[in-house]
């Protein structure tokens, strides 16, 4: 469906630069991991608070708002560096099953995180909040495991 997009991306100057460089991919990969780490920390704190496990959950989701900086930096970093990593061989990624799973899980994880961020505080039932926290964390873990599988399969 998006083959044209990946084909066009492979013909960009940036994609050529990543392919021809011995260090650009490695540097982008490290920043991808930095973003992943920051996201991991943000999710642990934010979702534990949403589930009222250890953290209190201030009315109106003040804790989530306070984590906006790391949430935006981490999510933006993961997406930006992820697009950078794909540049090394866009069509290979296009045909990679693990990559497709990762994109699917990533899209669902972003929706779940967005919902938890925007609407989480308004959910009165603790059980529902805990289920939402568990679902969000599971989706991000699935995206992470699929991402790791790209390099292994």
């Amino acid at each position: 469906m998006f083959r044209w997009l990946f084909t066009a991306y492979a013909q960009t100057g940036f994609s050529h630069a990543v392919r021809d460089s011995s260090w650009i991919f490695a540097v982008v990969e490290v920043f991808h991991l930095f973003s992943l780490a920051l996201l991991g920390g943000t999710l642990i704190v934010g979702l534990l608070a949403l589930a009222e496990l250890g953290f209190r959950f201030p009315q109106g989701g003040a804790l989530w708002r306070s984590l906006r900086l790391t949430a935006v930096l981490a999510t933006g970093g993961i997406i930006t560096t992820g697009i950078g990593l794909v540049a090394v061989n866009p069509l290979k990624y296009y045909w990679d099953d693990a990559f497709r799973y990762k994109m699917g899980f990533l899209a669902l994880a972003l929706i779940a995180l967005g919902f938890a961020y925007v609407r989480g505080a308004a959910i009165r039932s603790l059980t529902s909040r805990r289920l939402l926290a568990l679902l969000t964390l599971t989706l991000w873990l699935a995206a992470g495991v699929s991402g790791r599988a790209i390099g292994l399969l």
């Binding site: 991991l33 780490a37 991991g40 003040a62 984590l67 900086l69 992470g144 790791r148």
Partner: protein, 170 residues
């Protein structure tokens, strides 16, 4: 035992570990090694992430309305649990690749950085932690805590970078 004699024995130890049956089994398995590696990488990201949140709070960049000591107290158990998983998976991965990692500069840098991270935790516990008790929400952390937090962020960024570089020196 002198330093020279310890240094002479170390390469043999790497080889002995590398040749054990469990190390060979992990190395030759198509499933176990990648699964351990995936758990190790994800756990490292979670540990570095939770530590980063504490560090960023101490630097006054996030969770400013939450008491710093409370944030640290809540997050540290999760960090230690993750650390235990990371050490176990790391030890198993190290054993299976011991003979190859012995001369890997990125791996040696990662080990040094992990020692520095541990030293920074001890420094924080002795010099910064006592000053956090009673610190009101919204108040900046004392300079010694902010210095330790800045060092922590830099060291863990280094651990991640060195950890990833291990594969490039294989």
């Amino acid at each position: 035992m002198s330093v020279a004699s310890v240094a002479a024995v170390l390469p043999d130890l790497w080889q002995v570990v590398y040749d054990t049956s469990w190390a060979t089994a992990i190395r030759e398995s198509e499933i176990v090694f990648p699964v351990l590696e995936t758990i190790h990488v994800l756990t490292l990201a979670l540990i570095a992430g939770t530590i980063s949140i504490v560090d960023l709070r101490l630097l006054g960049l996030v969770l400013k309305d939450e008491p710093a000591a409370e944030i640290e107290r809540r997050i540290v158990p999760a960090t230690w649990a993750g650390f235990a998983v990371m050490v176990i998976t790391g030890a198993l991965l190290l054993g299976s690749e011991a003979a190859k990692l012995e001369h890997n500069p990125a791996f040696l840098i990662k080990l040094v950085l992990l020692v520095l991270a541990g030293s920074n935790v001890i420094f924080f516990q002795f010099f910064a932690h006592p000053k956090l008790a009673g610190l009101e929400p919204g108040r900046p952390a004392p300079p010694v805590a902010r210095i330790s937090a800045g060092l922590s962020l830099a060291i863990w960024a280094g651990v991640i970078a060195a950890g990833r570089a291990v594969a490039y020196y294989h």
